[in-house]
């Protein structure tokens, strides 16, 4: 990496030995050569590693906040209930949601459009923290893919759902925790005569 270090003149004590140039330069080249030899023929002592990206990838640290994903329900639909908490919390205002009525009356609300503009995103993780449904996570361990077109940087619902978290990638069963787990119970059906609900059985699986 070309790193420029500026040294103030009075800090460097340049004596006759340094001014002679050759001894110092030889010393420098010597250090470089030592590392080259060690890494070429050093066997176990090799310490630099070249990775043939993208065929080969370095795994990011576990706490790395990479590309977002939407977590799925068992049937593959997003867990997201389009509550807009993430887009409200987002300091970059890069989450665009349009809500719609869900087919399932026990879910009620779901996102029709869910887009994150990864170009605007600052990867702060506020959205993940705000979500009451554990529906958005930054656990893919992947960075946002390069793109040549601004529109490609906007990840839609399908893109976001298609990504897997580390748990899934490791073949483990993910555990999600969300408010709607409390709504697993069924809403009572309407009675045909009017609007009075039939309520004789209490659901058992509610919390």
């Amino acid at each position: 990496m070309g790193k420029i270090i500026k040294v103030r003149a009075q800090d460097a004590e340049v004596g006759a030995y340094e001014k002679a140039y050759l001894p110092e330069i030889t010393k420098g080249i010597g250090i470089t050569l030592r590392h080259v030899v060690k890494n070429l023929f050093g066997g176990d002592e090799k310490y630099t590693r070249t990775v043939s990206y993208p065929e080969e990838k370095v795994e990011y640290p576990v706490r790395f906040r990479g590309a977002h994903r939407l977590t799925p329900r068992e049937d593959g639909a997003p867990r997201c209930v389009a509550c807009f908490m993430c887009s409200t919390a987002c300091p970059a205002r890069c989450i665009n949601i349009v809500a719609e009525e869900s087919d399932d009356p026990n879910i009620e609300k779901r996102p029709k459009v869910f887009e994150i503009d990864e170009l605007k995103c600052i990867f702060c993780g506020m959205c993940v923290e705000a979500c009451p449904e554990d529906a958005i996570r930054m656990d893919t361990g992947e960075h946002v893919k390069p793109f040549t077109n601004r529109a490609d940087a906007v990840y839609g619902k399908v893109d976001l759902l298609s990504m897997l978290g580390r748990t899934e990638k490791n073949g483990e069963q993910p555990v999600y925790r969300g408010a709607h787990e409390h709504r697993a119970r069924q809403a009572p059906q309407h009675s045909p005569e009017g609007t009075l609900p039939v309520q004789d059985e209490q659901p058992e699986d509610a919390h």
Partner: protein
């Protein structure tokens, strides 16, 4: 006038006032759910409990009338504990599905929980499950789990439209609000129960899942749906209006509004004219403008002889004043007629049969300028051959066919009506959501309409008065020109010229407007909290 002491402060209040209102006078807000200033008192939620000296138990402030020598404590330890207990009971079976509840953000249950409870739930049993999506009528849905049984909605239907369509059914934790067999909630004022509901139990099907309430920009304006001129708060986001809700004005609409008016914002976006037309075809701005100037130059040359001017009572006072001044100065012999929206259904409460917001204002202006304005039926018999039409709405096809058959016609308006499409030249003006200005309602109240935050003039349109100046229409050959910089300056000239308006300023109209002729009269009483949410 009873004198009492609330939280250590002595005050004197009008006889018969309850403790909630009395406390508000000294800036103390007693939390409430079931109490609403415009409805009868049910005192069933017990959120407003206060301690009164010499009374053995806590008393509901909403139902207790202030009397002499009362010593009231609104935040003693006993009261604070009681409020938290009330909140806990209300939340026992509450589903807490705020993430998918459209009320979240303006919910009194959320507010009162944050203000007066703040504890986590001790509930370990199963919460009662109730119907979550009961469609009560064409516009209102009901979620029984969220309902706190305050009966505000039931009392509203009984007392305001006096149309008992809602009732409480069942007992205990199984009670629900419902409609009667075969009779949906279809009253023309049904949507009022949605804001009235302190929680998210009653929802508007029109607004369902459209937006979270905190992301909407709010503009204080006036409904242009009829000549009543209900005060509104228009909620918009990114160029679109999402809903209109009533704003309190005791001189006009109390805290109510009709469903038709609330939904009128849809019509403003539909059928919007986006480009000027000549002979019904899209024209560039320059072409349309020079055609319009040509039409006006002829009108000026003929001094309006043989010309008809149709003015719609949907124009603002400023638009009407600007154009009528133009007519007076340049086309004095033209005949002026009202066009505008056709009459509709009216009732005793708010809705008026005249669906135009500003007939009273335009009449006052025309009278002051000495221009007789006929009704449109006179126009039909007189059959003007050359027409200037301000505002695109017509009561029926007869005016449109006059415009379409005219030798020369200039139409200025916002919507693609038959008259607009059939005109020789049609230019764009904005709608009530885009324009600044004022209306006079049928009771002679001058009220300000404000452009909604973020809602821009569609296409190349201007406020109705500004079409003339910004586009340079007053510069038609031989015409007297005008010089107004902004809506306030038009209004200032209007106030000088028209007697009823004298002494008024557009910016001085305030939130509640002023009655014609009241000049610099004081604003409405200050304890009226116009900008507070209606539910409060």
């Amino acid at each position: 006038m009873p004198k009492l002491n609330i939280d250590g402060q002595d005050i004197e209040v009008p006889a018969g006032e309850n403790l909630v209102l009395a406390a508000r006078r000294i800036g103390v807000e007693v939390p409430v759910f079931c109490y609403h200033e415009k409805l009868s008192i049910a005192a069933n939620c017990r959120m407003c409990l206060v301690e009164i000296e010499k009374m053995p138990k806590l008393q509901p402030a909403c139902q207790t009338v202030a009397t002499d020598n009362m010593i009231v404590k609104t935040s003693s330890p006993k009261v604070i504990e009681a409020r938290a207990a009330v909140m806990e009971f209300l939340l026992v079976n509450h589903p807490l599905d705020c993430p998918i509840c459209d009320k979240a953000g303006e919910c009194m249950l959320q507010d009162n929980y944050m203000g007066h409870d703040g504890k986590s739930s001790r509930q370990q049993d199963t919460k009662t499950a109730k119907p979550r999506l009961e469609v009560l009528g064409p516009l209102v849905n009901y979620n029984a789990e969220r309902c706190i049984m305050c009966t505000r909605c039931v009392r509203f239907m009984d007392e305001i439209p006096k149309n008992t369509q809602l009732g409480v059914f069942g007992r205990g934790d199984r009670n629900v609000i419902g409609v009667f067999d075969g009779k949906p909630l279809d009253d023309p004022y049904s949507l009022n129960v949605v804001e009235l509901c302190p929680v998210g139990a009653l929802g508007s099907l029109d607004f369902r899942f459209e937006s979270r309430v905190w992301s909407l920009d709010k503009t204080n304006s006036v409904c242009d749906g009829c000549s009543k001129g209900c005060n509104t708060e228009t909620h918009s986001k990114k160029e679109h209006v999402y809903r209109m809700i009533p704003r309190r004005n005791d001189s006009v609409n109390d805290t109510w509004m009709c469903d038709e008016g609330r939904l009128s914002y849809h019509a403003h976006e539909e059928q919007r004219a986006e480009e000027p037309l000549t002979d019904g075809k899209r024209a560039s701005d320059a072409t349309a403008l020079s055609a319009a100037l040509g039409v006006l130059a002829n009108a000026v040359k003929e001094k309006g002889n043989g010309w008809g001017v149709f003015i719609s009572p949907t124009l603002t006072n400023e638009g009407a004043f600007a154009w009528l001044s133009y007519v007076k100065a340049n086309m004095a012999q033209a005949k002026v007629y009202f066009s505008g929206r056709a009459d509709g259904v009216g009732d005793q409460l708010l809705r008026r049969a005249d669906k135009n917001p500003n007939r009273a204002g335009i009449k006052a202006i025309a009278e002051a300028l000495g221009i007789p304005v006929g009704t449109y039926t006179d126009g039909i018999t007189a059959k003007p051959l050359r027409v200037v039409m301000l505002g695109t709405e017509t009561p029926d096809d007869r005016i449109s066919s006059i415009v379409n058959a005219a030798q020369a016609s200039l139409v200025i308006g916002a919507h693609l009506t038959q008259a607009f499409k059939g005109a020789k030249v049609a230019l764009l003006s904005g709608t009530v959501f885009e324009s600044d200005g004022s209306f006079v309602n049928e009771d002679g109240r001058v009220q300000r309409v404000r452009p909604c935050h973020g809602v821009k003039f569609a296409g190349k349109s201007y406020a109705d008065w500004a079409v003339m100046l910004s586009q340079g229409l007053d510069k038609a050959v031989g015409a007297k020109t005008f010089a107004w910089a902004n809506t306030e300056s038009v209004f200032a000239d209007l106030a000088n010229a028209v007697k009823g308006f004298s002494g008024m300023r557009l910016l001085g109209l305030g939130l509640h407007g002023k009655a014609l002729g009241s000049g610099r009269a004081t604003e409405s009483p200050s304890h009226q909290q116009a900008s507070s949410p209606v539910g409060a």
